[in-house]
């Protein structure tokens, strides 16, 4: 997907002015509430007309004030997944799913209805009304409905923000698997750095109605580590849980990690670990209360605000720890240095699994 967007839209007390070109299939738009993300998405979908400018998607002009082109929403083939699912309340799940599918010209239909229903695990829900579905089910139906419209681009406008944490990370694998299986490029809008890292490669950062930065999602997380109260969030896929001395031992890459707070039935899952919860030692400590002590090699150092991020390679995996510059000098932390990382067993938080 190649998108070029140079538009201006003024409101009474707010102006959105963007000028960017982006390529890729997993693009993110990141910004705090009120930064203009949703306005840009509405303009792109054709739901809001900019004052002037040009939007070109994969070589086709969607809008051009100079050429007097303004394709209607139904002509753009840009489907949306909204924050509040926006399912049609007077239709069944099946009719919601088929709404866009029926309106897509037959020659453009490439998505198989049954396969999509299978991937999203919606088989049991098809005949039900949408009003008595759970939040997660509703968002899965909304996602399926948008995909079945066979769009050239899928806009996901904070689709997880209305869900609680546990549901949010249950839905992410669906979002990823659906877009990967059906090869639909997407623009994912969120104010969560973790969601950006899980869902996108390239991120456009929005502030006060304009784009201030274009970066990879990893760069975004690192540059904001210093100002983020939880620091840099390490995302760890833990597997093969076994009970050991009343604790849960998980495999992570070539390492074993001990966790204290996991229900025993969680065998595999995605966990988060804050960079603030990783303590570095120059030498092997004699005695330590933390249950995890990993031998690591320093890969890289990066500045983020007043903090210093240390990228560590531990048994095939990468962790980021956060320290102050003085500590880096004292511990002589430089790329290639060997170091020990201590992590408390209670520092891990399960996101999904």
């Amino acid at each position: 997907m190649h998108l070029s967007m140079n538009v201006h839209k003024g409101f009474e007390s707010f102006t959105v002015s963007t000028d960017f070109t982006v390529s890729g299939d997993r693009i993110g738009i990141f910004g705090v509430s009120g930064s203009g993300k949703s306005t840009v998405v509405s303009i792109l979908a054709g739901l809001l007309e900019p004052d002037n400018g040009e939007i070109v998607l994969d070589g086709e002009t969607m809008f051009s004030s100079a050429k007097r082109i303004n394709l209607r929403p139904e002509q753009r083939r840009i489907a949306m997944v909204f924050q509040q699912h926006c399912l049609f309340p007077h239709m069944s799940v099946k009719n919601n799913l088929l709404y866009g599918f029926k309106r897509c010209p037959a020659k453009l239909r490439t998505i198989n209805f049954n396969r999509l229903v299978e991937v999203l695990k919606l088989e049991e829900l098809l005949s039900r009304g949408v009003n008595n579905l759970s939040g997660g089910e509703k968002q899965r139906v909304a996602l399926g409905r948008a995909i079945l419209a066979n769009p050239r681009l899928l806009l996901m406008d904070e689709p997880l923000s209305a869900l609680d944490d546990s549901l949010r990370f249950q839905i992410i694998p669906y979002l990823k698997s659906v877009s990967e299986e059906f090869s639909i490029p997407y623009l994912f809008i969120s104010h969560s750095i973790v969601e950006m890292r899980l869902m996108t490669d390239t991120v456009l950062v929005f502030e006060k109605g304009t784009i201030v930065e274009q970066a990879t999602s990893e760069q975004l997380a690192k540059t904001r580590m210093g100002s983020n109260p939880v620091g840099y969030v390490n995302l760890l896929e833990l597997a093969d849980m076994a009970m050991r001395d009343g604790m849960c031992a998980y495999r992570w890459k070539d390492c074993e990690l001990l966790l204290s707070s996991t229900p025993p039935d969680i065998v595999n899952g995605l966990f988060e670990l804050s960079s603030k919860d990783i303590i570095l030692f120059k030498k092997h400590p004699e005695a330590i209360s933390a249950r995890n002590l990993l031998e690591c090699t320093v890969v890289d150092l990066f500045n983020s605000g007043s903090k210093l991020g240390v990228e560590l390679r531990c048994g095939g995996g990468i962790l980021v720890s956060e320290i102050v510059a003085e500590a880096a000098r004292e511990l002589e932390i430089v790329p290639g240095a060997a170091i020990y990382a201590a992590i408390k067993a209670s520092a891990f938080r399960r996101l999904s699994g």
Binding site: E74, R76, I78, F88, P89, Y99, R103, A146
Partner: protein, 227 residues
Amino acid sequence: MVSLAQTDYDAIRLSAEVAIAANVLSLPFGFVIAYLITFVRFRGKVLLEVLVNLPLTLPPVVIGYFLLLLLGKHGWLGSLLHEAGIRLIFTLKAAVIASAVVGFPLLVRSLRIGMEAIDPQLINASRTLGARWHDTLLTIILPLSLPGLIAGSSLMFARSLGEFGATIIVAGNIPGVTQTIPLAIYEYASSPSSESMALSLCLVSVAISVIVLFLHEMMAKRMSRKA
């Protein structure tokens, strides 16, 4: 004991015909006006709203008089219709028009409330899923406006049954032709010996109104359960 004469049965039939016809006549216009007021931004919207709601505040007799000026033989529209061989004044059609004009604000108001309750994002979702605006109108806005439409129709039906002032001016009070229930009651009430006949028709009028409102409540409950 309710006892009704043939002219009373005619009045009941004519009232029902007028109320149904006024509803059928008003629904498409009411829907379009409510849609414009709710979803479309345009200059003169406030003026349109004032015009639509004017019959609510004007005495029905005044409305009837204006209609008489408009549709009468020498009226602006009436003269054109007269040339085409169409006569409206003192016919049942005039009673239908009078009822439609008087009940129109109630219909539009209810429809508008129904439409305003629709989440605009549903309309946006429909458009991004490939629906053209008229497709969205028929598949999303119309079905979701049904509670408002039912409420408005019921209110308008009930209002039409009770319409007196405008009807008597433009349609007169001709038994079997334009005499509806309120006009028949008025005639009975003017004659001291017809007190029981007037009461009988009043009871019929009450019964019809209760049935209409009962049906309205039932449908509204059903719709809200569905939603």
